[in-house]
């Protein structure tokens, strides 16, 4: 069994996340994003790789969207309404609520402002969202009889989730974007310890290690405060929906603390609308925010005001004045204005499009708090989940290579970084299913104590102290019999049940050997002759038992007066002249010093028995 992993987007790049994973015949598309840096066909994942016949509904079991960012959901309306995918789509409640806002906003920007031909219409978005099934965190959804999926909290943005998918015994986790440290309004990613064959993780900050975010927050607030104090205006474009709320909470808090009266304006539309959702979906934010909801919903900002306008329009107006400040998000996709500003030296000129060029003289502050996990977070998550394989997506190749080596060397987990359109196969776990009888299960669960005595005489001093005289083991080794019959599923029973079911009896196969040993009179003088023969024999047996103890240290030698028992091997004196087990040359024993030993054992202890026989026979040589 294998998991096949086809990367349609975000392979060794950031943008248009889309991975199609086939687990035991079930095909799941994780994310359906668009690339913000391209305007041609490259903005969408190459869907034709999924199915040549373009029958996507049949070739995919379901689509899972991790969060509402356009690089994760941007191509969804196109895929469902234009390409015709009609199967189930899953996303969390907040994602389902906020995604249409993002899509509609994007569509408007593309069509109304850039005058582009629209890829999908408003109706497309509405129709597409109707096909979506909203899910709660940890809700376990049975997509069909075999495919099970589950969402886990991912931090990143409101409603962002990592998804677990399981088919049969094979299971994977696709992380989407996540954050391992809580921020002002969202908690840190949370997931159960799962048995996984594969983890597909983002790696935006594959080599970055961040310090405390409070330092960064302070820097940001200081920059903003300085600017407004000297009469400047601050523009905070927040491309990501969640960032707006985070920064608003930060500023709202700061304004109150510093008793500032400078107005804060929200760009109308998206943020206001989104804010309403944040209030309703407060359960999806951090614990701290949640705890305060009864008194004051943290998203009722006190200092906020509303005004119209797009950040780009404002930017055009404010950029030429050096008193003003523009903050930039931590990560800007190549090709956007933000990206140009990031690499520019102020003052500079920036070309917006063919005809528009602006002089930029304002100050630039780069925000360095990001909703993505840093490298330590990725390592922590991978270590915690300990999957058999890791695939890195959503990152830049050189950094990903470094991280891959780290994962392989430090965690010993196979790691891959497939490029777009590449397909990868990963072996999976598989269990054989069998029915187990009650008696078998019971016998496995009942304790199986074993007491091992340590012979103190054999131990040297150093061991004497550390080794207890009696050791108790509880090895619950499960033993049973697996039966395979035609047209029946395999079944496990215990031995007695098996015999009973077949109606057969156990047949014991034993081996026996009776042999002669010449015992020289080792005891000095005639004292031994005076001893009654039984006690003489007893001391002889004892002698043998001690010898065997020495020679077979791994076995428990039991000296039971009349006989010695080691496992199933029983050694005793034999006085029966016609013992049936005496084979070979049968000589009348004339010599009193000649003794017969009779050994019997079951087949399993054959090798041991012959060792014992040889050992006893050696008695005459030893003494």
């Amino acid at each position: 069994m294998v998991i096949e992993c086809l990367v349609l987007g975000a392979g060794q790049e950031v943008g248009k996340s889309c991975v199609v994973v086939t687990i035991n015949g079930k095909r799941i598309m994780f994310d359906c994003g668009m690339h913000m840096g391209y305007l041609d066909h490259r903005r969408y994942p190459d869907f034709s790789l999924i199915s040549k016949s373009h029958d996507f509904t049949r070739s995919l079991s379901c689509i899972i969207i991790t969060h509402f960012h356009l690089d994760h959901i941007g191509a969804l309306p196109y895929f469902t309404q234009v390409c015709g995918y009609n199967g189930p789509i899953y996303m969390t409640y907040p994602t389902k609520a906020l995604a249409p806002l993002m899509l509609e906003d994007y569509r408007k920007v593309m069509v109304d402002r850039r005058g582009e031909e629209e890829q999908f219409s408003s109706e497309h978005i509405v129709e597409c969202m109707k096909k979506v099934t909203a899910v709660d965190l940890k809700q376990t959804i049975q997509v069909d009889e075999d495919l099970q999926i589950r969402a886990y909290y991912a931090g990143h943005v409101l409603g962002a989730a990592m998804f677990y998918a399981k088919v049969g015994d094979a299971a994977i986790v696709y992380t989407g974007d996540y954050n391992m440290t809580p921020d002002r309004h969202l908690g840190a990613a949370q997931i159960d310890r799962l048995q996984l064959d594969l983890v597909i993780t983002e790696s935006t900050y594959a080599t970055t290690y961040r310090d405390s975010k409070y330092v960064r927050e302070r820097e940001f607030l200081k920059a903003v405060h300085k600017c407004v104090a000297s009469g400047g205006k601050v523009l905070i474009p927040t491309f990501a929906l969640g960032r707006a709320q985070e920064l608003c909470m930060l500023l709202d808090d700061y304004w109150e603390r510093m008793n500032l009266k400078v107005p804060i304006y929200f760009s109308a539309g998206l943020t206001i609308q989104a804010n309403m959702y944040y209030k309703v979906l407060i359960n999806w934010t951090s614990q701290k925010v949640k705890d305060t909801y009864a008194t004051r919903n943290a998203f009722d900002f006190k200092n906020g005001m509303i005004s119209g306008g797009f950040s780009l329009e404002v930017f055009k107006q404010w950029a030429p004045c050096e008193k003003n400040l523009v903050t930039l998000p931590g990560y800007c996709v190549a090709g956007t204005v933000g990206h140009k500003l990031m690499s520019a030296k102020i003052p500079t000129q920036i070309r917006l499009d063919e005809d528009v060029q602006i002089n930029v003289r304002c100050q630039i502050h780069q925000l360095s708090f990001s909703p993505h996990t840093d490298a330590k977070g990725i390592m922590d998550l991978v270590k915690f989940l300990s999957p058999k394989h890791v695939i890195l997506v959503h990152g830049e190749k050189p950094k990903m290579v470094t991280l891959k080596e780290k994962i392989q060397s430090e965690l010993g987990i196979q790691c891959y970084l497939p490029a777009n359109s590449e397909s990868l196969c990963i072996p999976t776990t598989h269990h054989i299913k069998a029915g187990a009888s009650d008696a078998f299960v019971r016998s496995c669960l009942s304790p199986n104590f074993k007491f091992l005595k340590t012979n103190s005489a054999e131990l040297d001093d150093s061991h004497k102290r550390t080794m207890p005289l009696l050791q108790v083991y509880d090895d619950r080794v499960s033993e049973g019999i697996l039966t395979l019959q035609k047209n029946q599923s395999p079944k496990v029973v215990n031995q007695n049940e098996f015999m009973e079911a077949l109606g057969v009896e156990k047949h014991e196969v034993k081996l026996a050997h009776c042999f002669r040993v010449y015992i020289p009179d080792s005891e000095s003088g005639d004292a031994s002759d005076c001893l009654p023969s039984t006690s003489r024999k007893g001391s002889l047996l004892h002698l043998i038992s001690e010898k065997l103890c020495r020679e077979l240290p791994d076995f428990d030698v039991q000296d039971c007066q009349e006989h010695i028992q080691i496992q199933s091997v029983v050694v005793s004196f034999c006085s029966n002249e016609k013992c049936p087990h005496r084979t070979g040359v049968s000589l009348q024993s004339v010599d009193k010093k000649e003794v017969h030993f009779c050994c019997s054992w079951s087949v399993a202890d054959d090798a041991l028995a012959w060792r014992i026989v040889a050992s006893i026979k050696n008695l005459e040589l030893d003494t």
Partner: protein, 701 residues
Amino acid sequence: MEFTCLSEGKGYYFPPCHILDICGFRVLFDCPMDLSSLAIFSPVPTSSNSIAYNRKFSCSSEKYAGLELNEDKRLKIDKPLDANSLIGAEPHYRTVKNLLLWNVSFIDVVLISSPMGMLGLPFLTRNKDFSAKVYATEATARIGQLMMEDLVSMHKEYRQFYGAEESDAPQWMKWDELELLPLELRQIVFGADGTEFGGWMPLYSAADVKACMLKVECLKYAEEACYGGTLIIQAFSSGLEIGSCNWGISGPKASISYISSSVFSSAAAMSFNYQALQRSDVILYSDFSSCNGLDKFDNDDNCSGAAGNNYSNLSSDDVNSEGHDTLLNDEEYLEEMEKLNFICSCSVDCIKAGGSVLIPIARIGITLQLLERFAVNLASENMRVPIFLISSVAEELIAFTNIIPEWLCEQWQDRLYSGQPLFSHVEMLKDGRLYLFPAIHSLKLLKTWQEPCIVFCPHWSLRLGPVVHLLLRWSADQNSLLVMEEGLDANLALLPFKPMAMKVLQCSFVSGIQMQKSHHLLKILQPRHVLFPEILRQHIGPLETVFSFNYYSENKMVHIPYMKDSELDITVELACQLQYTTLKQQDMNISRLKGELMIEHGRYRLHLGNDEQVSSHPRPLVHFGRIDLNNLLTALQKLDMNATLEEVTGAAGSHKASRIHVSEPSKAMIEVIEAQTVISAADENIASVISQAISGVLDCI
């Protein structure tokens, strides 16, 4: 598996209570209490307004007179039922009596299906022997907590009036006092057949509620909770109320679905998710609503006022239509909406006439729906009457409903997706159409109070909380309206407030599966076995089904057989090491299996034991079957042995043993007796060759 019904309950406010023994664990379903029994107590007299004051005055003077009369009438058994016969003492609360018969420490898991099913939980959790894990959905836990806190705070009024209780057994509980109660009250105290006395407890404290909540594990919708590695427990919406659920429990030997009262297309809560319960082995059917509905026809009270209206929650559904369509038709939903609209229009009429409306209904979904409707209806009539929501937890409750869109019905969820505010009450609160107050005596309420108005307040039993005061105030006003639920004995409930000039509207809401629908439901769910309540036997009729079923009744243990073997996962590493042998007679391959058994997430898994001791001590081979001597001889001869057979007979001539003597290549003897064979040989090699030959003619493992 053993199943015992502890209580069949009594409608929506007193859900059933059961205990199930599965895979060695004991699972308790719900822990409710019977608040309708509060009816035997007299509400706290009040002096908050003039009308009530007068009434109270006359009331209490009558009462004292009545008490004196009592002394004389000791011998008379059946007193007529009037306001004075109610017990004037701090109330006790009736819990599930049969639960007290069980050892609390033996309960492993408690599953709470609805906020109502939680109200008796503090009685259980405050027991020091209680060690079970309690599971409830997040919404149920929160709403249940608020309801319990509200109950404790309302009860405080009694305590303030009567003072601290002196002993566990109050005066009214004394046998001779109870004997003197009128028949109607005795029936509540002792049960209909007079055998159910017991389970009356003084109310828990706020601290008990707090401690109880710490023991509740909140579950997300359909989250898999794993108990003891063995049971996987999942909650799926039942549609009865926001947060209420049915349970799926699966262990290695069986999967069980517990179906509590469920609603297919709920007016407020997320609807009954029955698809999730498909293909479970056993269904515990615990929806008594259809028989509660039937009861209603039997003892129909005449106390519904002028506007009284009887709604049946049994509709003449077309039984013939099949499948999901039948289950999901919106007839039920539309009917429910119609009821709500009717309540609204009655209320509007009453306000037009200058009266006020009092709605003591504890169903949150219904309250939310009515608020929506009032917002629309009042606006369209251009009326500005304030709506008051008076409860110690009103604010928390309303705030909470705003943040659980996951538990709301589709219609409300769609509002979220289309960018509208979830509820209009957010807007109503802002512009002063709706007020939330913690208590009737709060200063703010007195300042904003104006009549006519609409008041939502607890408690539905009409014995506790703000409703008592408002009833005393308005009961004489013929223009005012009381909206109450059916199922409550209205005659008894309204007793302390008589004579009632106020209009009373009694209505019922959908609170379970209709009998006709349950047939379709079970057809879709395809269980292998179903447990029905005994009292549904007559309604179920002859079922032509593929599943087996039986009936359960209160306090009788029902045995449910396990339907299958435990399932075992064998790891590939282990499976690869298996060596199969084929049995001689049967067409069967067998292999000795040895490993380490783990139970993980409700499944048994056999791993390769990595213990050295295991591998170094192979278990002795086991032989079975009978030795065919001729076959053995042939086998030995094939191995170039010279073997001869000798039969040994015992003294009495009976067959004792068979011996095979081997002379070549070296001497050996094989003795075969019944189920034992002994090989005697001096040579190790020949002995092992012979034993292999014997293994060849026997089956072995």
